[in-house]
């Protein structure tokens, strides 16, 4: 028990939680933006892979780190645009289109990687983002290591939480996005474009998802592996519900999941001899399901989620 307590008050545990949470923060914000506009984006898992591969490859080909980030976001946006065209003006099933995008985007990324590097056995490395070392702040006890020795992408993720919150709560655009996800007719009757708003939200949300992938290859690791996204996209889909479509709660949910994951790694080293490791690997997911069941009982879904809207049909 004191072991557990020691873990929970250690700086490295919380620093790891935030690090693990970073790609989830990007992903859950992206999914939140799409769903607030009324469209489920199950392409998220594949868009993570695209972001991871494209960001890494851009840097490997000589673009700077921030160039890589930009390339990843654009690649995600392109796949988002595909999902948007299929689900918004064409009104196809959001589930089928999203799963199709995931399969397509994952395969396309692997194919591109293999074509570019046919004879490589160990993945080439890049020089990833380094931990920011902010004078004074980094030396603060506890907060220093937890907050101020993270990489720039973690800070970008936190900034995005603020940005998405501000847009949804304080701007006319945010009001329109929330309205189009609740009742598209309300937007149409006021002369705004339902298609434009929805497609825009999907494209922007997909770009955010791709940044989550890019974090994996450009900050958490320094290379691209097959299977490295490993279900993080699906976790984000669940976290959006946990968060009740609120950016602030999305941040909380992502950090909570990160903490579960960080805890399981540490418990594995402490107690690995007694309990099979797979139990610990399962733990974050089981705890997430429990948290989701508790939190999701009373959520208000965006009313128009999953419902296509067609111009001229009322």
């Amino acid at each position: 028990m004191t072991d557990l307590l020691n873990i929970l008050i250690s700086e490295s545990f919380w620093a790891a939680s935030l690090r693990i949470a970073t790609p989830l923060i990007f992903g859950v914000l992206g999914a939140l933006l799409c769903e607030r506009a009324g469209v489920l984006n199950l392409g998220i898992e594949g868009i993570f892979v695209v972001g991871a591969m494209c960001g890494w490859m851009a840097v490997w080909l000589g673009a700077g780190l921030w160039g890589g980030v930009l390339v990843a976001a654009c690649a995600g946006a392109i796949f988002g645009l595909l999902h948007a065209i299929l689900t918004v003006p064409l009104g196809l099933s959001q589930h089928v289109s999203g799963l199709g995008i995931t399969l397509f985007a994952t395969s396309a990324s692997y194919f591109t990687y293999r074509t570019a590097l046919p004879n490589v056995s160990s993945p080439p490395r890049i020089e990833p983002f380094q931990a920011l070392d902010i004078p004074v702040l980094s030396d603060l006890p506890f907060l220093g290591p937890v907050l101020f020795q993270q990489t720039a992408l973690t800070w970008l993720a936190l900034l995005m939480v603020l940005l998405v919150w501000y847009v949804l709560q304080r701007t006319g655009l945010g009001v329109a996005i929330k309205a189009v996800g609740d009742n598209p007719d309300s937007v149409d009757a006021q002369g705004l474009s339902v298609y434009g708003l929805r497609m825009g939200a999907i494209v922007a949300g997909s770009a955010l998802m791709a940044l989550g992938g890019a974090f994996l290859t450009m900050s958490a690791f320094d290379a691209f592996f097959f299977g490295m996204v490993n279900g993080r996209g699906w976790v984000c889909i669940a976290l959006v519900i946990f968060a009740g479509w609120q950016p602030g709660k999305a941040l909380f949910g992502a950090v909570l999941f990160g903490a579960f994951d960080a805890l399981q790694v540490r418990l594995q080293t402490e107690m690995g001899a007694l309990v099979p490791g797979q139990i610990f690997l399962m733990a974050p997911y089981i705890l997430s399901i429990i948290a989701l069941v508790i939190a999701a009982r009373s959520v208000d879904y965006p009313r128009a989620l999953l419902t296509p809207w067609f111009k001229g049909q009322r």
């Binding site: 006319g172 009001v175 929330k178 609740d182 009742n183 007719d185 009757a189 001229g312 009322r314």
Partner: protein
């Protein structure tokens, strides 16, 4: 002095595939006038207004709208944005409101810049409050619209139009969802706005309110304009004749002495999943040869009452008895067996299986009947013969009894359900909103069938939001409000309206 013209529609036509929705319709609207657009369901009223507002592109015809100086300008068709800019506001029957944002945001949506970093909410609020003060359209601005009452939501819809400087307001069946008192408030609000220079087109199929409230009446039938007159020259019979093309036979109702009780609910309480389904200590007796009308505003427990009588809900307390025999643990099958026939509220989903044929739908409640099946195999021929006979007797029209039931129109689906229910000669008939959405001819046929069943000896529970229907058919009237049932002491519509609103006992 001739009144100034603010809107002309000239020769508008619209087809949906083979169906002609509007055929060469022309209308004129003057400043400060209330024009009622009257017609049966499917006469093309809403299609016409949707063309005006740019939701549909007409096949032929043109629209001219007066600009702020009063000069008529052609309106580009098919663009809601252009209609908004020209000062046309439309309040749809189904409100176009986002329920997760407040009234202020719904009103300002689309008229403020999307990309501005800060919204000027104070200025917007001041303007809206000014409009509220002038028009009397009171609505809370800061609560999510999902929490507002139907009347408040409608006021928000009208405020939306006025905020956009609408000079012409189109109201599509505005009173369909309101209590009589709320409707009166709405009419006095509109009178205030008309005095302020607004012009109103008002779609309805309720003769009473049209006569009471409009300045001029235009009647549509089968997509064509069949008449236009000043309201002062109109009378109910004359307009009804125009709407249906012939005099409507008033449903004749004989006085019959009621018989023994066929349905007894005693202190029935239901804790429903929502307030719509909850009942509190409801007692109700329905006798043979009697129609009991249940009046009330939608969502006050009607569906809970209907579910209990249909056997879909087991009451938490109290007893249900049919023909004097208490029904333990009621199920739909037990209630049907006990002699209950059901005409469900949602006829498309609960009344028929759309993918199955008309003939199959007609026998779906008596599949164990040896006439219909033997040794577990359906007797196709008997089913077809039965269907052909019923289709003739009940005037079910459509693409034939072998066709899927979903291809029938709403009125014919209802006739199919009537045929199925009445063929079993039920002791008790539950008719839940039996004429909602039907045109006058089909509605009259339904009323006639209910009266025939009454004469034959059935007891009937008629749940309806249409007070005129209840007043025309029922022997006794109850009002349902907040899950409680009260017998109406009078048949005066004003009094019953007050009871529906919960204003007086």
């Amino acid at each position: 002095m001739t009144p100034k013209t603010v809107l002309t529609l000239t020769g508008l036509s619209k087809r949906f595939g083979p169906v002609i929705a509007n055929d060469d319709v022309s209308l004129t609207l003057h400043k400060g006038e209330v024009l009622a657009l009257l017609g049966e369901n499917g006469a093309g009223k809403t299609t016409l207004m949707n063309m005006l507002f740019g939701h549909y592109l007409p096949d032929a015809g043109r629209v001219e709208v007066a600009d702020a100086q009063g000069i008529l300008e052609p309106l580009p068709l098919g663009h809601p944005q252009a209609a908004l800019a020209a000062g046309i506001g439309m309040v749809h029957q189904h409100f176009a409101l986002a329920e997760n944002i407040n009234a202020l945001d719904n009103i300002t949506l689309g008229s403020e810049p999307l990309l501005a970093l800060r919204r000027n909410r104070a200025a917007a609020r001041a303007r809206i409050e000014g409009i509220i003060a002038r028009s009397g359209l009171k609505a809370p601005l800061d609560v999510p619209v999902g929490q507002l009452s139907v009347g408040e939501r409608q006021r928000v819809e009208i405020l939306k139009a006025l905020y956009r400087d609408a000079r012409i307001l189109v109201l599509d069946e505005p009173t369909a969802v309101l209590t009589p008192q709320e409707a009166d408030t709405l009419f006095s609000n509109i009178r205030a706005m008309v005095a302020d220079g607004l012009s109103v087109i008002f779609i309805s199929h309720k003769l009473r309110e049209v006569l009471a409230f409009s300045d001029r009446i235009a009647v549509l039938r089968h997509g064509k304009k069949v008449g236009e007159m000043a309201t002062t020259e109109a009378d109910e019979a004359k307009i009804a004749r125009m709407m249906v093309g012939a005099d409507t036979p008033k449903v004749a109702r004989d006085q019959i002495a009621a018989g023994a009780p066929v349905l007894s609910l005693t202190n029935v309480a239901v804790k429903g999943r929502s307030e719509r389904e909850s009942l509190e200590h409801v007692s109700l007796t329905v006798n043979a040869r009697e129609i009991v009308g249940i009046a009330g505003i939608s969502g006050n427990g009607q569906s809970g009452l209907a579910r209990v009588i249909a056997g879909l809900t087991t009451p938490d307390a109290g007893t249900v008895a049919v023909d004097g025999a208490a029904i333990e643990n009621p199920t739909p099958a037990r209630m049907v067996e006990a002699g209950v026939g059901r005409i469900p509220e949602d006829r498309h989903h609960e009344g028929i299986v759309g993918a199955m044929s008309v003939a199959e739908n007609m026998v779906i409640e008596r599949l164990d009947d040896p006439d219909i099946q033997s040794m577990g195999l359906l007797r196709r021929e008997a089913i077809s013969e039965n269907a052909a006979r019923l289709a003739t007797a009940y005037d079910v029209r459509g693409p034939g009894v072998g066709a899927p039931a979903r291809l029938l129109s709403g009125g014919n689906i209802q006739k199919l359900i009537l045929a199925r229910v009445f063929e079993r000669s039920p002791r008790l008939i539950l008719a839940n909103q039996p004429t909602r959405g039907l045109d006058m001819g089909a509605a009259a046929a339904v009323g006639q069938r209910l009266l025939e069943a009454r004469a034959r000896g059935a007891g009937i529970v008629l749940i309806s939001e249409d007070l005129d229907e209840i007043l025309g058919l029922a022997d006794r009237i109850f009002v349902i409000r907040d899950g409680q049932l009260t017998q109406a002491p009078t048949t005066e519509r004003e009094q019953i309206g007050l009871m529906m609103a919960g204003v007086a006992a």
